[in-house]
Symmetry: C2
Subunit: 293 residues, 2 copies
């Protein structure tokens, strides 16, 4: 069994650091897919998987946008996850779950178990409730070759409210990362990188560099590139020079690659595909170039 | 439109402070309902709603245990939520969501909007990402007569890892509660209580008393009573004397009321119902008596 970290590295080595967000925002699903309905989400998501395959190694569906449509939305999500797996894409499930032991086991069964109904390669987790709430995910990831992505320093302004405040001598988000040290070791692959990933917003490059010092082996998931305002060099602030380029995680883009203006108004699937694949290729090239190609 | 806080108070005044957890743990759904399958969850959950109605005013389904069964589990959850609404029960949806603005709006649409596909009266929220991630929920609750339940000090040992540590002079969970002051004011009902509820584990009565001083009007959701080890007086530590009894929130019990030993091995629906209703009545009486009722 190949460790998740090594699979992620192979995917980004092959395609570049872009992670394509699958975020079906209300009002943005083109009519040609069926609009903002469960079927529209499914058709659009399957087309996004097809557009991403071969151009990016990693996708990140956002659960909230599917939950909007209730169980039918979750059924659409399931079919998109299955298609992504068949296409060989690595799936980072962005659901930001977190709960106590027996309940955490429920989320593990849903997302990280071998036969999980929502099949994915890694799951985002909120650390507020403490290490015992993260442990079931780490144990499952260790057993099943999966990853765990813990929120550290997020990309929104509200990250200043608690995450960046001083907890006994260091920002809370650094305390979270410190506490995750043993888990990082357990999910380390042959590449030396760990599948205990950290979320470090692209809007906080200084914090990302600081986290890289604290957690030299953790892969980063960097949101906030593109529509949220950060450029490629800020997004890669926490990456490391290895060989001839910067590496150490993925940079996610959602609106900028899935809803470019030409795609929103596309009259045909061909036009839509042309617009979206161009946006994916452009983001990948932008990041690849900033990483030193 | 009656404020959520006032509706919750009316329900606990009528029935007592018990909140019945709807937590379909793996391996605990009796065969007579269909066992650990989506249909089993649905049949069991509908029977729990029927058993709770008239004996408790409030239920709390745990999303994780339904997500285990994928979209079919979420369909079962939906039908249970609809049955609870028809039965006049107040539903606290325990999903511990939390994400940035546009994504938070997705969760609002799923749970707190007027036409939400997962209909409920309040939703549990994780505060780690900051106030801007909580705001969409508060705004929706204000507009729709719903509640928002923010994790403060949870009932698990891991609450010591971050929540109880010193953030600039006070425990993190107190800083969270301080920051929620304006939101508490916005969700205040005619009763004077606020529908911005706080999760304060029954295993931390001292912390609950401290939180009551910091947030005198916030209704509390107290988990950890029963199977997690805390007794009625500990669970009510953060409640306040008003009139001739303690009031100020709900105390949730799950395993002790939904899986009493006699129910697990019940041969018939009648036997199961007898065991579960007796357990609900016993917990309600225990809490009612400790509250001075």
């Amino acid at each position: 069994m190949t460790a998740f970290a090594d699979r992620l590295l192979a995917a980004t080595d092959a395609h570049g650091p872009l992670c394509v967000g699958i975020d079906p925002h209300a009002g943005r699903i083109p009519d040609l897919f069926g609009g903002d309905t469960p079927d529209g989400l499914e058709n659009w998501g399957l087309a996004m998987v097809e557009a991403a395959a071969g151009r990016a190694g990693v996708i990140k569906p956002q659960s909230a946008f599917f939950e909007r449509h209730g169980w039918q939305g979750m059924r659409a999500l399931t079919r998109i996850l299955e298609a992504a797996r068949e296409a060989g894409l690595i799936v980072l499930m962005d659901a930001k779950r977190g709960d106590i032991g027996s309940t955490a086991e429920g989320y593990v069964s849903a997302f990280l178990a071998q036969d999980a109904p929502f099949p994915c390669d890694a799951l985002t987790i909120n650390p507020y409730m403490g290490l015992d709430t993260i442990e079931p995910h780490v144990a499952a990831a260790e057993a099943n070759g999966k990853g765990v992505i813990v929120l550290a320093r997020t990309s929104n302004p509200g990250s200043a409210d608690f995450q960046s405040r001083n907890l006994e001598g260091a920002p809370l988000f650094e305390r979270v990362v410190e506490a995750l040290g043993p888990a990082m070791g357990r999910l380390k692959g042959e590449s030396g990188w760990s599948g205990l990933m950290l979320v470090t917003g692209a809007t906080g490059p200084d914090e990302a560099r600081r986290l890289r010092m604290l957690a030299p082996d953790a892969l980063f998931l960097v949101p906030g590139y593109g529509a949220q305002g950060a450029g490629a060099s800020e997004a890669l602030a926490g990456f490391q020079q290895r060989g001839n380029r910067l590496t150490g995680g993925v940079v996610s883009a959602s609106r900028s690659v899935s809803f470019p203006p030409e795609a929103l108004n596309a009259d045909s699937l061909d036009d839509w595909r042309t617009a979206v694949t161009a946006a994916i290729n452009a983001a990948q090239a932008d990041l690849f170039s900033a990483a030193g190609g």
